[in-house]
Symmetry: C2
Subunit: 340 residues, 2 copies
């Protein structure tokens, strides 16, 4: 598989590409399936439908990898936290974690209950053409814990930071529990057929450097170590969003570092390019304009020297108002311009 080869820094005929949130609201065919499911969580819970939307963009655009359609919050949900997706407001946990008792009560067998995810994976892998990869994923322990404590999206992260600074031990109990569950969850995803796994640390930028490594990165590395020990040939990919200032301190046994658009690709290459395959990082909103997309593609391919060690992606997810034609343009142009 071109994508897996690229993750392992092998030579490939061109730079492979996929897009974060490539299965999503900008696609009319996604909206149809989503309407059938009724709501977002139902869609995650229905293997047939989740498999269908996972496959849609790959069938239509021919990118080099599919990414499992699911949500990072299914993990805390199966650990016993009631989850609602409220229209226009995003996800919400009705009873956020407050005390050590709340944390002790979390269900550590969650990985066994996420069977609908493994079924989705099996269905996708059975239908996906052989040379395309399927990427599994999880939220990072830090990002999940933040949702579990704040109950919802937040601007200030004041509840979780109060714990980080005033009661760090409680935080570590929660993070270790999440880490253990996630190791089981990713293992089961790989057993079910994914060809690579990605850790999304969407809220990485909520912490100052010192605390970031203590409360987030170290746990991600723990997960990467466990997965690589069990599945040495399965690429492990990290995506910590918004930590351009911390690149000097990045370490760990993983294969691919996902570069978000706020981190200049040149800087990432200088600091990390020798140690990790880099994935990224076109500013997604360049897709509003053909000229800006052209400029973005050329700039990034040029910086990365159009060589092994790079996977093309956006620096963040597709937005609902993007035009499908632009997704097609991006995929075709990257694959064509990077042909060697």
């Amino acid at each position: 598989m071109i994508f897996v080869d690229a993750c392992l820094r092998k030579e490939t005929p061109y730079t492979p590409i996929w897009m974060m949130r490539q299965a999503g609201r900008y696609l009319p065919e996604y909206m149809e399936v989503r309407a059938k499911a009724g709501n977002f969580l139902n869609l995650c819970h229905a293997p047939d439908l989740a498999a269908e939307v996972t496959l849609q963009p790959v069938k239509r655009f021919g990118m080099d990898a599919a990414i499992l359609f699911s949500d990072i919050l299914v993990v805390p949900n199966e650990m016993g936290m009631e989850l609602d997706f409220i229209k226009g407001e995003g996800p919400k946990f009705g009873k956020p974690l407050k005390t050590i008792e709340d944390i002790e009560a979390l269900d550590m067998s969650a990985a066994d209950k996420l069977t609908y995810v493994y079924e989705t994976i099996e269905k996708v892998r059975a239908e996906l053409v052989e040379d395309k990869a399927l990427i599994g994923f999880t939220g990072s322990p830090w990002t999940l814990s933040t949702y579990m404590i704040e109950g919802q999206g937040t601007k200030t992260y004041s509840l979780v930071k109060k714990i980080v600074y005033s009661d760090p031990r409680l935080m570590h109990v929660l993070l270790q529990k999440l880490t253990d569950v996630i190791i089981g969850y990713l293992s089961r995803q790989i057993d079910a057929g994914v060809n690579a796994v990605m850790l999304f640390d969407s809220w990485a930028a909520a912490l100052e450097e010192e605390k970031y490594f203590e409360f987030s990165w170290d746990y991600m590395v723990q997960i990467a170590d466990a997965i690589k020990a069990k599945y040495p040939d399965t690429p492990v990919m990290m995506f910590p969003k918004g930590i351009a200032g911390f690149l000097d301190k990045i370490y760990g046994n993983f294969d691919v570092f996902g570069v978000d658009w706020s981190t200049p690709m040149e800087l990432a290459k200088e600091k990390l390019g020798d140690r990790y395959v880099l994935q990224g990082n076109m500013e997604p909103t360049r897709l509003y304009s053909k000229e800006a997309t052209d400029e973005g593609i050329d700039k990034i391919l040029n910086i990365m020297g159009n060589r092994a060690g790079h996977i093309f992606n956006l620096g963040h997810g597709m937005l609902p108002d993007f035009k499908p034609e632009m997704a097609q343009y991006l995929v075709t142009e990257v694959q064509t311009r990077s042909a060697r």
Copy 2:
């Protein structure tokens, strides 16, 4: 003034300190005045009340500078855009900018209409003890333009980015207009009595590097140049939030670089410490805990070598649920521990 001396890298008896949003909702005396004013915008418009809340934290805690109480959005408001502060939602422009005609219709005499700001400054300067500085401020052209186009806070910045990538010339027309108004506005603030001026680029992190310098930083430098040419002894301070990845490219004729908490102080010192006085950058939520505050103070003073070239501040604003006692603790401890 200790604060102004520090801005100009002169020796001072200790490291001066002030806090972003030091006048605000965490202070019961602020809440009283705010209630009297009725709403936030009224408070900005009433020089007596605005002066009172500007002075409150300095009188109570003894920090080394007061910062003018106002809002960055008074500028677009006086350029003709109707502004509402909606409870729980934040500021909102009812008719955001859409076309070149909307931009051409903006009132370029806004600086003449912001008389309530200059009156506030005169009142504060008359009452503030002589050795404390008064800081004036503005939003950056980029940050203001973003509000003016999006109409309100945004997660995706998709309206303004559509223009950045598809119609950059329209964006530049707006940014130059804002730059011209802001130069007049800061000049009038200095004429009225402020001892330093600060440019808040709160939404700096919305742009990728190349576009950041084109659409934001270059205009801030233009403003700094104009102000330093007219008022060479008045310090000009920049606060671009969340651009740790761009420090290699920072340039311009200003005095102080405000370091937000997501930018490690060590990195800022290495990249910028020789050229600019650094201001910052304790993670504000450390104030939830005395131990975390102690650790934060010592770490930052230690990195900066407790020397000329540093002004202590938080790396972002005070939050409404902070305890006033912790503000006092921070001010006293920084002034005491940094005494030379």
